[in-house]
Assembly symmetry: C2
């Protein structure tokens, strides 16, 4: 079989650090395994435009491996050229770069390494909440710039204790965020989700479900988005909904950038409707140099906690998703069943409840 992996270039970093498994150079550690089984293995970062390696090789690829960090966009059009494609593996979590409806129709399976990033992202959320609420970035920049004016930092620095924090989505990541918030003595923990948490899980984190989205956002000092991108969440955080946020709320999105309307978020931050915005997901990745989220600020010159998309690709996470990808391939080659939680699209049908087909 022909296996094609679209990964990102690690350059010197990947040579120096072999644990950077998700790079073109280190090939998810799969080459010797795949070649020993007689398979062909193509690894490339070239994914944009008709002359890219992605477009060239997809026509006779059997198995496609992609990641959320440097996504190869498998549109319906591209899929139509992929005559041999049987399985798409996302080395990580989040398969919104694949047209899932088209995959169902074409009977192409879509699989993820579901557990690989949940802890990494939940930690990133906690870090992002704390650094926004406590006004870290302007404080650190002041040190780098040779300054020392505590009042300029303190005037927009708060404690997380006593605040209302809500997660939009209380699945594998959202729930882990709630667990980590418990000892911070927030005023209240809220969640918005299509499904209620099991009573015991809800009680364990003392979280309250709010079923109306506007009512949910209007009660939160801090909102963290932990939901997949699909038809129901695309552009969900827009100008209209932002008006229902508490004035001066903090927003963290480590899920998918396109859940937020980029310009509307930048405007809300500039006006002070949002006090801060942090996250590492962008509506286009890599983000262009002039993306508004790179330099947007609140009226006091802070409130931007953006990073490139790396939260789920720490060195610890790379071990997990490389091993998980190998396990999925082994199951497939040996005709064994996949872990149910890893199946987004089975042969001809949706399996995951996370995506927007309900």
């Amino acid at each position: 079989m022909k296996v094609l992996a679209i990964l990102y270039n690690g350059y010197e970093a990947a040579t120096a650090e072999p644990r950077l498994l998700g790079t073109v150079e280190n090939e998810l550690g799969l080459r010797s395994y795949l070649e020993s089984q007689g398979h062909e293995y193509i690894v490339t970062s070239s994914k944009e435009g008709p002359d890219s390696d992605f477009q060239k090789h997809i026509v006779d690829t059997d198995i496609l491996i992609t990641t959320p960090f440097h996504p190869g966009y498998l549109t319906r059009e591209v899929m139509n050229k992929a005559k041999n494609l049987k399985v798409c593996v996302t080395a990580g979590v989040g398969s919104d770069h694949i047209d899932l409806n088209a995959a169902v129709e074409r009977k192409i399976q879509v699989l993820e390494v579901t557990g690989s990033n949940v802890v990494s992202v939940a930690e990133q959320v906690m870090m992002s909440i704390l650094l926004l609420v406590r006004n870290f970035v302007p404080a650190h920049e002041m040190i780098e710039n040779g300054g020392w004016q505590v009042s300029e930092i303190a005037r927009n620095a708060f404690d997380l204790e006593g605040k209302v924090v809500g997660t939009l989505g209380a699945g594998r990541i959202g729930y882990r965020v709630l667990q980590r918030l418990v000892p911070f003595n927030c005023k209240e923990l809220l969640y918005f989700d299509y499904n209620a948490l099991p009573a015991e899980a809800e009680a364990a984190v003392a979280a309250r479900r709010v079923q109306d989205l506007k009512e949910f956002v209007s009660q939160c000092d801090v909102i963290t988005i932990n939901a997949p991108l699909h038809e129901g969440t695309l552009g969900l955080i827009n100008k209209e909904l932002l008006q229902h946020f508490k004035k001066g709320a903090w927003l963290v999105d480590t899920a998918r950038g396109a859940i937020c309307v980029a310009e509307d978020v930048a405007e809300a931050l500039a006006s002070g409707q949002l006090r801060g915005y942090a996250g590492d997901v962008w509506n286009v990745q890599p983000a262009p140099k002039d993306h508004p989220w790179r330099h947007m600020k609140n009226p006091l010159g802070g409130g931007n906690g953006m990073t490139p998309h790396y939260s789920g690709t720490t060195l610890d996470a790379q071990i997990r998703y490389a091993e998980g990808t190998k396990a999925i391939l082994q199951n497939y080659f040996e005709g064994k069943p996949q872990e149910p939680a890893n199946i987004i699209v089975g042969v001809g049908k949706y399996e995951s409840k996370a995506y927007g087909q309900r």
Copy 2:
């Protein structure tokens, strides 16, 4: 009575934000109270050198109010000029800027607002640990600088899960840090302290006490310092002890800067012996423009999470320490007993066990 407060200038920030109570402009909110009681109230930021307001007014001041953020250094020499001084109130926590032995001899009381900052600092510690381990600062700088090279960030980004974290000091702040670490599934939580935690408290956070300091530091991936500065902790983290750290450990100091030897820490970071160092306390405050901690980096160009000293002076904390200072003054004027936890030096004797007189 004459009451002298040494606070920091807030400038426009203090005018725009009345919750910045700890500034010269907002005077801890004490003026009308003190004047209504017939007291004189002098507030200034001028604290350095023989011509400073501090030196001028200290000679006939009865009550001195200072903060850890912009400390008025009450040395034995200065104290000898302060003929009327009876009470020093630290609006915040940490009275190491006062010569406590001299205060005992002179029968000058030293009081703090003990509970005012413990949550704020514990949160700052959690933020600092996460942003070092997850390599936040270089990631954010990459976004600001127009770049996008995930491998450069990921090569030095880790999860907190599975790491060994130790607190040097398990008092009011250190214990709160341990509580907040519990849901992060660290490999192990350790503490070093003169005193063992009560068995129940120790079990609640599943922390293990290590009694030998070198053994303690050699086991930790992350070390957080939560101890007061005194003779026993001054310069404790020095070149010699740093050699016993795990290679590539992360160190967070939000307690007092002088617990670490500045040059030794900068060298350890530059060599990679430390992977990161963060905190907001400095051996001199304000830190000079050429302080090595402003620009020190690890061999990959990151690992610096320094901020100016503000962790205990969020807007939430300022309300607590302003109210706490007023309560201490009221007790004194009305001859009522002080909260025992707030008394560092009583009349002629140490009261706190936190300082180094044992």
